[in-house]
Symmetry: C2
Subunit: 368 residues, 2 copies
DNA sequence: AAAGAAATCGAAATCGTTTTCTACAAGAAA
DNA sequence: TTTCTTGTAGAAAACGATTTCGATTTCTTT
């Protein structure tokens, strides 16, 4: 982080000589910024003509255009966005609703959205709803007042979706939890496939007793992950082992506790598929406390591919959730909707994939 | 809400005597949301009266107020924010400029800003500048068009500060790198004290040879950290040990490399103060590769208190940088400025403190 | 009962831009 | 020359709210 401060400060040494704008404009306007009317008067043309120049319309002669452009440049004129928004009915803003801001999981989504919006010249309005549907609804209601061009909602509640559909605003859902039948534009990831791939990977290494943590959550993604796990076992001709399916609310603590319980089993698993990376961190902690080595005595697979999985010890093998693309895709779709276009693919699912690092190996009995 | 629009339109359709007015109003209102004018007509009052009710002004009689409020409620009216912004000169928006969005360091700052703005009923516009001064300047220029009420800039460049001061907009700087003489409103943390405390902590444990990683960065915070380290050594009557002051650009990789070099020294240190948590993660990796145990064979202290330091193995002792408060304080100050108040304390410095976990112990020779 | 004070309400102006829609000029076609 | 385009420019009307300020009405006071 501070690394970049370095080169950043370097380029600082070339201190750009900024063209100082004429202070004459001050005379005309109280807050110092000229309006179209003033520019028009100074240029000796009418207000609409200036507007036409600003908007690149054709019906302005070249000399007039150049004169107006010169004055605009000279006085450093920028048009009042509020007035423009009022007249055009567009605000240049897009709202993004996240459950939480202090959860690094959402960061790349935010980043992806920000990238696309920046390219499109739109500004990003960010709100955290703290996982409360009423907050979501409240926010959607308050931005229904022409103050946004479109909305992106991560993990929307049912109520939020209803409210969105009612509002008539363009919107795209990210990580929609809703039923499969929902028709609203949305972007998701292949959680089922991720669960399947992770489990299959462990099976291929020779593991037979593979635990899963995170059974309880009613969230769509969680349900898909465990379904993928079960399907992989099934495809390998193995029976389900209910004692190896642990509760877990996808926190570090629940990963820790689930692992302790698993280790007390008469026949503990040789591998743990930890539902997500946070739980995997808890798994590591429990294993370390009990003096068990990863991957020699226990293989571990995570899900999400959070940044810190790279610096875990050993680096965690995990399923990559393409969160940046989630954000980019959703934002791109929303831009289309705002533009009045139809989406040929309103419901997009982005692929996950396995990131192989050093937390897995064949089970001990096969190693020897 | 659509239900109400329905009945709204229905009642309009059946109102013959107001037909001419109605058709006009309908023609101009494409998206079906009522305007103040329509509410006023339905309530049988004037436009200003509705406005007064909306703004809680005193000169409206109770019966009138109640009637208008009922109609507003019934029709689910929300006022057009663009129109309001134009007239009042306030947008209800605050811009936050961050160097990057994918850096978890900034997350709590963002969270703190978001909290305060939410309480104040303002919306947060987020932009990443990618550490480029020209991006900062470009953004500041484009929001100078009355489209924001105030700006918060994290790690502002010199040029950005100049631009801000020229713009006349309210602004507060976070982590200002500038010289001590700068008078602009800003919030920082006590980096020097953090460096001093971390080093003193290690000295008290009995360490004599304490390394520091991150010498090279010209960033204000980095300079203060190493200055604190040196001052602590000095206060303990120890000489500076240049061979123990390592270069480092505050990435995981540089922590790793610096540690390898330190271990090759004829007399390696017994403790490493790692400049920041990311470098500490690299230190852990190098030590683990060389088979050295933390804290038994090497004590490590980080800086920042990133979330993952808690789940490092062992949990990292580090200096807490109060980033949430950084965001909250800056936002609170900005709110004051927007409100036209004077700041009695324009330049705030927030205290850091040591978070003691399990990565430090007395050096080996003293243990035995 | 008359006059003054206070409460209540609305007409009209305003914020700064965009969008018709009309007017006029110059050039092309008849 | 007359008529018809074509190209330019501007007058005026929105967009939807807030604010000012004058006009009523109601309430006190003497």
């Amino acid at each position: 982080m501070i690394a970049q401060w370095l080169c950043y400060n370097r380029s600082e040494t070339f201190r750009g000589e900024q063209a100082q704008h004429k202070s004459m404009a001050r005379r005309h306007n109280i807050d110092g910024r000229p309006t179209i009317a003033q520019i028009a008067r100074i240029a000796g043309v009418s207000v609409p003509t200036v507007s036409k120049v600003l908007n690149g319309r054709a019906d302005v002669s070249l000399p007039t255009r150049e004169k107006v452009e010169r004055i605009i440049e000279e006085y450093g004129f920028v048009r009042n966005r509020a007035a423009r928004a009022l007249r055009k009915g567009k605000t240049g803003l897009v709202d993004l609703l996240l459950p939480r801001l202090d959860d690094e999981y959402y960061l790349p989504i935010l980043e992806g959205v920000a990238q696309v919006l920046r390219e499109a010249g739109l500004r990003l309005v960010l709100t955290a709803t703290d996982y409360k549907p009423e907050e979501e609804v409240r926010w959607i209601t308050t931005v229904t007042d022409h103050s946004t061009d479109g909305i992106l909602v991560v993990l929307p509640s049912e109520r939020a979706i209803e409210q969105l559909e009612r509002s008539g605003l363009p919107f795209v859902l990210i990580h929609n939890q809703g039923g499969l039948q929902a028709t609203a534009p949305s972007v998701r990831i292949t959680s089922w496939e991720g669960g399947f791939v992770a489990t299959t990977y462990l099976l291929r290494l020779g593991h037979q007793r593979i635990a899963y943590i995170g059974k309880t959550s009613p969230a769509r993604d969680a349900i898909e992950r465990i379904a993928g796990y079960r399907a992989a076992l099934d495809a390998a001709g193995l029976p389900l082992m209910p004692e190896l399916e642990c509760d877990g609310d996808f926190t570090e603590a629940s990963g820790y506790q689930a692992t302790l319980r698993l280790l007390e089993l008469p026949e503990p698993p040789t591998a743990i598929f930890a539902g997500n990376d946070r739980q995997a961190a808890g798994v590591y902690r429990a294993l370390h406390e009990r003096g068990l080595a990863v991957p020699e005595q226990m293989s571990v697979v995570g899900f999400d591919n959070l940044p810190y999985t790279e610096i875990m010890n050993p680096p965690l093998t995990t399923i990559h959730a393409p969160r940046l693309e989630l954000g980019r895709t959703a934002a791109t779709m929303l831009l289309r909707l705002i533009n009045g276009e139809q989406l040929e693919m309103p419901r997009v699912v982005l692929p996950t994939h396995l990131v192989e690092r050093q937390s897995c190996s064949p089970p001990r009995q096969q190693q020897e």
